[in-house]
């Protein structure tokens, strides 16, 4: 039961309660942050460089544990969960890292297919889906290329494909369009929107991209001086 958490509509996908976090004794990158994201919501996160956006996202995919307070993902408290529980939580989250984190020795295709491969599923089951996704992000011609031979924007698109490939319940994207041109950026965001609408994927995107935020109606959270504020709309 607990090691295989089910997704229930009446609890938030994500919940942060009085989360206080920092790296050095005494500093407060996040100071008593409270937030909830409802299942199927689509939210932007903005804030100046160094304000703690990446830190906040890392707490939300359990790459870090909060110093104080409680972070729940799908109702599971990350601080008290077992490693097994966290593994099954991670399989339901797609992450786009600010610095991509592709594996250099794997091809674009293999990088994108990674979240499926690590579950042990046979390749034939998902090969076509992965290829279709790579075509959609404009990498149909470069599926066999290693990340070191891809341009910055191409790498970013592989990272996005990897985050979407297992149709996650939660998508966390850190600056996913920083290295692509505005046209490609729009295309990628539309892809994420489609996922959000069709599969009720909860989406949280940290971005500096003003034009991106302005084009969409989604609520905006703003992080500044350790505090989280609503800049536009109600979250959740």
């Amino acid at each position: 039961m607990i090691t295989e958490p089910r997704f229930s509509d009446d609890q938030p996908a994500i919940r942060m309660a009085k989360v206080n976090h920092g790296y050095i004794k005494g500093d407060h990158v996040l100071g008593d942050v409270n937030m909830e994201l409802n299942p199927g919501s689509f939210t932007f996160l903005t804030g100046p460089s160094g304000s703690g956006k990446t830190t906040l996202l890392q707490l939300l995919y359990a790459a870090q544990l909060p110093r104080n307070g409680k972070v729940s993902i799908f109702g599971i408290d990350t601080s008290t969960a077992t490693r097994k529980m966290l593994t099954s939580v991670r399989r339901r989250i797609g992450v786009v890292y600010q610095d991509f984190r592709l594996l250099d020795h794997l091809s674009a295709y293999e990088n994108a297919a990674l979240p499926l491969r690590v579950t042990g599923r046979p390749e034939r089951e998902y090969r076509d889906d992965v290829m279709e996704l790579l075509h959609w992000v404009g990498l149909g011609e470069r599926v066999q290329a290693k990340p070191t031979t891809l341009s910055g924007g191409e790498q970013q698109r592989v990272a996005i494909a990897r985050a979407l490939v297992n149709k996650p319940d939660l998508l966390i994207a850190d600056e996913p369009t920083g290295n692509v041109d505005p046209e490609m950026g729009e295309r990628l965001i539309r892809l994420i929107l489609e996922l959000n609408r069709r599969l009720s994927t909860t989406v949280l995107i940290a971005t500096h991209d003003k034009s991106l935020v302005e084009r969409l109606e989604a609520p905006i959270l703003r992080l500044e001086n350790g505090m989280l504020m609503h800049e536009r709309g109600r979250i959740g």
Binding site: A63, S88, R101, S107, N166
Partner: protein, 290 residues
């Protein structure tokens, strides 16, 4: 795409791994060779000990050739004695020529020697022989051992010890190198581990990647090391053969089943050590990761 082989999740063909492979192979080579040498030294020491313990020389103080022959015949019937051969007066006289010249007076009483070969495993024979001989009225003295043989035996024992120490040392070095290297490889691959982790790979999955990698590395490197050790042993064997019987003091390496067991054990041992080192390191490192 359809039939393409999958790229392993851990990067392959890494120069670091080539160095590690080489080191493990070299150490396995040395370990296997030392193992063979130690084994040979043991064998030689045992042979010596057997020879030395198995031979007793009896000096018959009085009585001529006939007495010697009858004592020899009597002794041969004792349980635990393989053979007893009496030397004739001529043989003894030959031994004395350097001191006394060719023409010994006929009436000079000369001791007779009886070379007794014991069956292996026979114990307390000196006492039994003395008893039997004295019971039959013979006056004898026993020379159980030759002092230089004792020296040789002791020397071989020391060589054997040195070999054992060297072997233990090499095995320890192999162990630590593999453990160290695994740890280093894991640290160097921290990025890969991290990515796999956040992609939902379980601890067992990640750990198994490293275990497989290092098991096969240990197996291959150990195998190559053992192969070269075989070549080396054969070279030494032929060198010993070349120098003829006169190198009887050196342990001889002869290819037998034991040799092949040592050579087979080497890669298996290396592989298992590598795998266990990988597993321990990975499990600990994953625990630290979050």
């Amino acid at each position: 795409m359809a039939e393409a082989r999958r790229t392993p999740l851990l990067p392959r063909e890494d120069a670091r791994e080539a160095a590690l492979f080489f080191v493990v192979a070299a150490l396995c080579f040395l370990a296997a060779l030392t193992g063979l040498a130690t084994r040979a030294a043991y064998g030689a020491a045992e042979t010596w000990a057997g020879q030395v313990q198995g031979e007793i020389t009896i000096r018959l103080l009085e009585g001529g050739d006939t007495a010697a022959t009858s004592l020899a015949t009597m002794l041969e019937e004792l349980p635990g004695i393989q053979s007893a051969i009496a030397e004739s007066r001529e043989e003894t006289e030959d031994l004395l020529t350097p001191w006394l010249g060719e023409n010994l007076p006929e009436d000079l009483p000369v001791s007779r020697y009886i070379a007794v070969q014991l069956e292996s495993g026979a114990t307390e024979m000196p006492a039994a022989i003395s008893e039997a001989a004295e019971g039959a009225g013979f006056q004898i003295s026993l020379e159980e051992h030759q002092s230089w043989a004792r020296d040789v035996e002791r020397s071989l024992g020391l060589m054997r010890l040195t070999g054992m120490v060297a072997l233990i040392l090499l095995v320890t070095i192999v162990l630590s190198v593999i453990a160290f290297a695994t740890h280093a490889a894991l640290l160097a691959r921290k990025d890969v581990v991290n990515v796999l982790h956040t992609c939902g790979a379980s601890d067992r999955f990640i750990s198994r990647l490293f275990e497989h990698r290092f098991f096969s590395l240990g197996l291959k490197a150990g195998g190559i090391g053992a192969l070269f050790a075989l070549l080396g042993a054969m070279l030494l064997f032929f060198a010993a053969k070349q120098s003829g019987d006169r190198s009887w003091l050196l342990p001889q390496m002869s290819p037998d089943i034991g040799t092949f067991l040592v050579l087979l054990a080497t890669p298996l041992f290396a592989a298992i050590v590598a795998m266990v080192a990988a597993r321990l390191t990975v499990t600990r490192a994953l625990g630290e990761l979050s």
